[in-house]
């Protein structure tokens, strides 16, 4: 039994667990690396699977695999997974239990206390469901922490004077904007807005569509969508291109022997994408995020100039165009 308290980010797509060591937060490794896919299911032999293994069977056994359970939290719903039936909070508890177990393995001691983050917009019912999920996993939930507040704390904002901050969180599958007011030592979420279905995956889709178009420019008679293997390769290539274009101005996508024709002829893809093209592809999605900023400011009854700081959180905020747009829009 330890007095250490786990910090758990129970995300829609992925989850993570950390502890403070020597006053600093340290992210712990799970069996799938730092991020554990927030997926649960029963395997071919009805064995429970959490994380990557559950994700691996999603395509073939969707009827006994559950992803994005966070979106269902607080709902009175029975999820049928194979022969079993679980509530959303039970499924969440399996993910929390796996995180607890892996943190214990990593630190070599029993851990029973946790702080879990929830989106700022979570209702009381959704929050209560999250606490129940923690309890089912054998955790004493010391506190629920708003995700933007956690971000603000992580960036050390609590050391500054009283102020308003904007947290812009663009993750893999969700997008949230929150306005936080700091008064003394208290951080309070004043407003939140966003899009539950927007994230880096959407940018990948746009790039995939672009790659298919470029392929068809040369081979109008062929549609990669008819070739699952080719489509899979292109989707991976699109993600690589997205990541590459955050640091490089151009990125070359080369997929040899992508499609094989009826007569055995091989068709290849060899194209170069520049950053401007990519930005053009996702421009409308990014502009949508700006509207969420406006919504949040309106809710909080604030002018952009009243914000003293903007925090960009989430993997997709690595895209340079996101910084530029947010900076232009808010004017700081």
């Amino acid at each position: 039994m330890s007095d250490k308290i786990l910090g758990i980010d129970l995300g829609t797509t992925n989850s993570a667990v950390a502890v403070t060591q020597d006053g600093k937060p340290v992210l712990l490794q799970t069996k799938d690396g730092p991020l554990l896919p927030s997926v649960f299911g029963y395997g071919p032999d009805d064995q429970p699977l959490v994380g990557r293994e559950a994700l691996n069977q999603l395509v073939v056994y969707p009827e006994r695999t559950q992803r994005s359970v966070k979106r269902l939290m607080g709902r009175d719903e029975a999820l049928e997974l194979g022969a079993a039936t679980h509530s959303p909070e039970e499924v969440s508890s399996f993910i929390l239990g796996a995180l607890k177990k892996q943190a214990e393995a990593e630190l070599g001691e029993e851990l029973t206390r946790a702080v879990i983050t929830v989106p700022a917009y979570f209702s009381d019912e959704q929050r209560r469901a999250t606490i129940r999920a923690g309890e089912l996993a054998g955790l004493e939930v010391e506190r629920l922490l708003n995700e933007p507040t956690a971000a603000a704390l992580a960036y050390g904002v609590d050391r500054c004077e009283d102020q308003f901050l904007l947290v812009f969180d663009l993750g893999g599958g969700t997008f949230d904007v929150s306005i936080i007011e700091k008064v003394g030592d208290v951080l309070e979420v004043r407003a939140s807005a966003g899009d539950n279905e927007l994230g880096g995956d959407d940018f990948d889709e746009r790039l995939l569509g672009h790659l298919i178009e470029r392929f068809q420019e040369k081979h109008p008679d062929l549609d990669p969508k008819d070739h699952p293997k080719a489509l899979s390769r292109l989707r991976q290539a699109a993600e690589r291109a997205k990541i590459g274009l955050s640091s490089e101005v151009t990125f070359r996508v080369t997929e040899e022997f992508l499609i094989e024709g009826e007569d055995g002829e091989a068709f290849h893809l060899d194209v170069e994408i520049d950053r401007a093209t990519f930005v053009g592809l996702i421009d409308d999605l990014l502009r949508g995020t700006l509207r969420a900023i406006d919504d949040a400011l309106q809710q909080a009854d604030l002018e952009p100039c009243e914000l003293s700081e903007v925090l960009l959180v989430g993997g997709s905020t690595r895209i340079p165009r996101v910084w530029e747009l947010v900076e232009e829009h808010i004017g700081i």
């Binding site: 699977l49 990557r52 691996n56 069977q57 073939v60 969707p62 293997k229 899979s232 055995g264 091989a266």
Partner: protein
């Protein structure tokens, strides 16, 4: 790898001189301890005797000088003190001898038993160790024989073992008997040494008594000299002085002619002198009688006899009217003779004292020699015991590689050494042994420290090795990450080429007729050969990956395993293939026991199974 070896060598090069130094220091410490103990023991024996000798010397010097200065009362006192001192010293010496004897008899007895017990327990320990070794060996051989299943060989070996065990038992028993005989002989030698010690103590007592007697005698002589004689002589002297005065007064009166005026007055004066002279004569007679009774004053008595005789002559001379001067001269001569006699008496007393002193010195010399011999023999025996213990220890150490004959030979040697060492030195052997044990403990603690140090080094090396392994695996993963896409592309190339080769026409069609097209056949053969080359390249890549511990995951035909496969699609199949991987889209790889890349697979599902998923997204 070279770095770790180097580190290990470095550690070893540091540790080995340290070990050497420790051994050297141990050795030096042992030597110093031995020397110190010997010195202490020798000192303990000789110190008391030396101190006594010095005090005796001083006392004798005092006695002599006191005698020379004729300070009789002081001399008397000194002699009394000296006597008391000698008595006290002798008492304490004999007491010390008694204590020594008692302590020896109190300590040596149990020590012998203890040592014997230790020897026995060591022997039994050794025996059980040997038996353990033999049993282990036997088990091992049994195991081997069990494997070989050769009953005759097994029986033979068992026979050997039986004999070996019997031999061991016999030698254990023999050893026990020898040990008990040894014990008896040790007890005897102890008794003998105790008797010798008793005799020594008795002798010392006798010497003490004779010394006491001599002192008493001397005292008596001195007392005789110092009491009667001086008092009598002093009185005599006084009377002679007054006589001389009376005579000189008479002579003066005679010279002045006073006597001629009254002859009656002169006559009465002469009668007075005469009566005084008679008195002196009586005193001398009495003194003579007293002296003649004393042996030591025989010569003095003789002198006084002479004096008496001369006094009678003097009386006769006075009666004859001799001059008073002649009488005075005679008296002076007599006095001088008495003085000489008295001086001779003192010299005789001095000679006696000298003789006594020489006797004491001789005894002291003997005591010195005795103490010195004692210390020397203790040191010699200690050394021999030390070497015995050392060889015993070496043999005990050598036990790790048990050899029956070697051990028995060693035991024989130990036994004979113990016999030589003797009973009275067992106590010292015990203390040496305990010191040796202490040293051994220290050495083993140092050894433990060193082992701890080695463990740390080993742990550090192990940590470094683990880190290096992790780094290697990381590097392998990085390289594999670069190589895997090439493999994927080569797979596509092979697949595509095989299809091209299969589809290539081999016949030419002309109207209703078909005939072989030799060119097409040749083309197809060449294509086949080219594809084979690409496959070899692919195989080579797989071999490179294997060298990085990257192994392909076999997917097609096996049951879908979410721990190794990622489903990218499903296909309708009949029931028998439900849940089976029917196509591998991309090969998966493992590195060690970890999945490096999941195999992308298409999984078969039968209609029945698929039906259950209706209604689920």
């Amino acid at each position: 790898m070279g770095l770790f070896q180097k580190k290990q060598e470095e550690s070893a090069s540091i540790v080995s001189p340290l070990m050497h130094e420790v051994r050297q220091l141990r050795h030096e410490l042992q030597e110093l301890q031995g020397e110190f103990q010997q010195g202490q023991r020798a000192l303990a024996r000789t110190d008391a005797i030396d101190g006594l000798g010095q005090r005796l010397d001083r006392r004798l010097d005092q006695v002599q000088s006191a005698a020379e200065a004729r300070q009789r009362p002081e001399l008397e006192d000194s002699i009394e003190r000296f006597r008391g001192d000698v008595q006290k010293r002798l008492d304490s010496l004999s007491q010390a001898l008694l204590t020594l004897r008692e302590s020896r008899s109190a300590q040596s007895g149990p020590s012998v038993g203890e040592l014997m017990k230790q020897l026995e327990s060591r022997e039994s320990e050794r025996g059980s160790l040997l038996r353990g070794e033999l049993t282990a060996l036997r088990n091992w051989i049994d195991e081997r024989l069990g494997q070989n299943a050769d009953p005759s060989a097994k029986a033979k070996v068992e026979g050997h073992f039986q004999r070996l065990f019997e031999q061991l038992e016999r030698s254990s028993k023999d050893l026990g008997a020898q040990l008990s005989a040894q014990n008896n002989s040790l007890a005897e030698s102890f008794e003998k040494s105790t008797r010798v010690l008793d005799e020594r103590i008795g002798e010392t007592h006798r010497q003490t008594s004779s010394l006491e007697e001599s002192v008493a005698e001397l005292e008596k002589k001195l007392l005789a000299t110092t009491t009667d004689l001086p008092a009598g002589l002093t009185r005599l002297e006084e009377r002679l002085e007054s006589q001389l005065e009376a005579l000189s007064g008479l002579r003066g009166e005679l010279a002045e002619g006073a006597l001629s005026r009254d002859p009656a007055e002169v006559s009465s004066k002469l009668q007075g002198i005469e009566s005084q002279q008679r008195e002196i004569a009586t005193t001398l007679t009495r003194l003579c009688t007293g002296l003649s009774e004393n042996d030591a004053s025989a010569s003095l008595g003789q002198g006084l006899e002479d004096l008496k005789k001369q006094w009678s002559e003097l009386q006769a001379a006075v009666a004859r009217g001799e001059t008073l001067e002649a009488l005075g001269e005679r008296l002076e001569r007599l006095f001088e003779a008495e003085r000489t006699a008295r001086s001779e008496e003192v010299q005789a007393a001095q000679a006696d004292i000298e003789a006594l002193r020489r006797g004491l010195e001789e005894q002291l010399g003997e005591l010195h020699t005795f103490g010195k011999d004692e210390a020397e023999s203790a040191s010699t025996r200690t050394e021999s015991l030390q070497s015995s213990i050392k060889s015993l220890q070496e043999k005990l150490d050598g036990l790790e590689a048990p050899d029956l004959t070697e051990i028995h030979r060693g035991l024989e040697a130990i036994r004979s050494e113990v016999e030589h060492a003797g009973k009275s030195r067992l106590k010292e052997a015990m203390s040496l042994q305990s010191e040796h044990e202490k040293t051994r403990r220290e050495v083993s603690s140092i050894k433990a420290d060193l082992l701890g140090h080695f463990d740390q080094v080993a742990k550090r090396n192990a940590d470094a090795a683990t880190a290096a392994k992790a780094a290697r695996q990381e590097e392998s993963e990085r390289i594999a990450g670069i190589l895997l896409p090439f493999g994927d592309v080569l797979d596509e190339v092979v697949r595509s080429a095989l299809r091209l080769a299969a589809d290539a026409p081999t016949e030419e069609r002309r109207g209703l007729f078909r005939r072989k097209d030799p060119q097409a056949a040749e083309h197809r053969r060449r294509l086949g050969s080219w594809v084979e080359g690409v496959r070899l390249v692919r195989a080579r890549l797989e071999k490179i990956l294997a060298e990085l511990s990257v192994e392909p995951i076999v997917a097609t035909g096996s049951a879908f395993d979410p721990n190794r496969h990622v489903a990218v699609g499903s296909a309708m199949v009949d029931g028998s293939l439900d849940g089976e991987v029917i196509e591998e889209r991309q090969r998966g790889y493992t590195i060690g026991d970890r999945v490096l890349r999941y195999a992308e697979v298409v999984v078969g599902r039968s209609g029945q199974a698929s039906a259950s998923k209706s209604g689920v997204d």
